[in-house]
């Protein structure tokens, strides 16, 4: 009955891993005092740290501060990096903590923690079942699309945004995301499911076929 065979959909995969040995060599050189080696690590990951910071804080100024503070803290604490995990995962952990701290400062009345329980009874139940056709790229130009994507992800609770950006935008594995956020794997999976479904639901208001909206169950 379906025009598109679901079995033909390739699974969502993590992005390829960085060359871990090369990264480790840079970390070890930086630990020995080679600041040029640390600079290579900055160049390698500054785009990622900026994206993560901007997704979490939703504020350009804060994101810029997070990038600077995260790399400086990483440099200052390089000796404590045990090399049992990837440097990038360790760096992400520092950046997420910095970003959440900035967010807390802006929301003085409301505590923001990655551990907070954000579950509600029905936040994983899809409401909009309309298919997206024509696809979003055909409906909107690039600038309009970015505006919609930005507004939509901003509406998500910070804890969900954080899991979504690490797992689905930056391509960390579920285990790496759990390590970076100090969460269990089941907690990451649960938040990721709810984040994905909430984003899908919200985007359906823009991208869903109008004719199908009256046929929701």
């Amino acid at each position: 009955m379906n025009s598109l065979n679901p079995t033909a959909m390739p699974p969502i995969q993590s992005k390829g891993t960085e060359a871990v040995t090369e990264e480790l060599a840079l970390v070890q050189a930086a630990k020995r005092g080679d600041i040029g080696a640390f600079e290579q690590l900055v160049k390698r990951y500054d785009r990622n740290v900026f994206r993560i910071a901007q997704h979490i804080t939703q504020n350009r100024e804060d994101a810029e501060d997070v990038v600077q503070d995260a790399f400086l803290k990483a440099y200052q604490n390089l000796e404590s990096f045990q090399e049992q995990s990837k440097f990038y995962t360790w760096l992400v952990r520092i950046a997420v903590n910095e970003a959440l701290m900035r967010l807390r400062k802006r929301r003085t009345a409301k505590t923001v923690s990655i551990d907070e329980d954000v579950q509600t009874e029905d936040d994983a139940i899809p409401r909009e079942i309309a298919d997206w056709s024509p696809n979003p790229e055909q409906l909107y130009d690039q600038s309009e699309l970015k505006d919609i994507l930005g507004k939509t992800i901003k509406g998500l609770p910070p804890t969900f945004r954080t899991v979504f950006v690490l797992r689905d935008v930056e391509g960390l594995s579920t285990e790496e995301t759990a390590e970076a956020l100090d969460l269990s794997v089941p907690a990451v999976k649960s938040r990721l499911l709810r984040a994905r479904l909430q984003l899908r639901d919200r985007l359906s208001k823009y991208f869903g076929k109008k004719s199908s909206r009256s046929n929701q169950p």
């Binding site: 969502i12 997704h55 400086l72 997206w132 994507l149 979504f164 935008v169 499911l193 984003l199 899908r200």
Partner: protein
């Protein structure tokens, strides 16, 4: 399989980390349940559109400015390691 059970497995299904038996049950459900089929398809598009959107790419001039600031702070720390941010 009920739709609620299907949704519980959705993340593992999309990530391709599911055993063959469960995958077969999920895909059997997808063949007759239009709603779940649409949810799978649009959730997958949601992930892909954010991944491909370059939503928060750092502009070159800002990147260069931040890079200089970071390296200058690191150099200062190297000279005077006692002083931490």
């Amino acid at each position: 399989m009920k739709c609620s059970q299907f949704l519980q497995e959705l993340t593992d299904y999309l990530d391709g980390v599911i055993d063959d038996k469960t995958r077969a049950e999920l895909e059997d459900h997808l063949h007759w349940c239009r709603n779940c089929y649409v949810v799978v398809s649009t959730t997958k598009q949601t992930i892909e559109i954010y991944r491909d959107s370059k939503l928060y790419e750092i502009p070159d001039d800002l990147r260069s400015r931040l890079h200089s600031a970071i390296m200058s702070k690191c150099a200062a720390h190297k000279k005077n390691p006692e002083k931490k941010a």
